[in-house]
Symmetry: C2
Amino acid sequence: MVTEDDFEAEEMSYHRLLLAVDDDDDDSSRKAFNYACTLARTFNLPLGIVSVMETGDMNIFQSLSPDVIKSRREDIYHDLNTYVSKARAFGVKDVQPLIGEGKPERVILEEIIPEFKPDLVLLGSHTRRGHLRIGHVAGEIIREAEVSAIIVK
Amino acid sequence: MVTEDDFEAEEMSYHRLLLAVDDDDDDSSRKAFNYACTLARTFNLPLGIVSVMETGDMNIFQSLSPDVIKSRREDIYHDLNTYVSKARAFGVKDVQPLIGEGKPERVILEEIIPEFKPDLVLLGSHTRRGHLRIGHVAGEIIREAEVSAIIVK
């Protein structure tokens, strides 16, 4: 609770946005993308869009096949570039594609955030049994990141 | 991932904001308050500020004493009114104090959100062992609410 009364509301805004996109193209991922673009354009903020090639969910046979890895990597690049070009077309001036490989939550927390230095991370949610729920990656980021995060539903 | 390329980024904004404040007046609660006020003023949005009198953490002796309950209730009202008047002084035109009693996450999820109908809930975080962490109430709301939520750190 408010222990003292001698404070005033102050203008508070974010300066660098990071949008995490993933394999499951849900309505809420698109909403998160739209909100990230809206904030970035309205306040003229740099927007990083990160996609992580999840290597943990490939089985051993697949993970030994360079073709599978190559094909997945190409898909990720293609989809990430699609988001970036759509954001630019919308009017976001500074958009950066960011790509990683590994466990998405670890890569985002330990590599992408320390490097890109966002102060707001935007995450989509997933529909499960008719309800909008946060995924494992989003949950970890919200718990562990030292920066603000929004779950768009 | 993006399965089709034929989408465009769209303007996306929120329409009703709900800020949850709690007993632990942390830096991040103040930041959440500031961000809520900034969004509400910038986009001219109604802002609800909710505080829940947590009855679950009182022991049986205390919960039997009407004086303790009365005193706590007065504190909650006072603090909530402080937030509301600071928001108004900042320039937020439509600010509503919302008060509840019970388990904060249940009251917010089952009474306040269905009644006030926010599309974005703003929550502060807490400092634990030098790290910014989300509290239990915020975690539950982020998991279960069917609306977007931002954790301000």
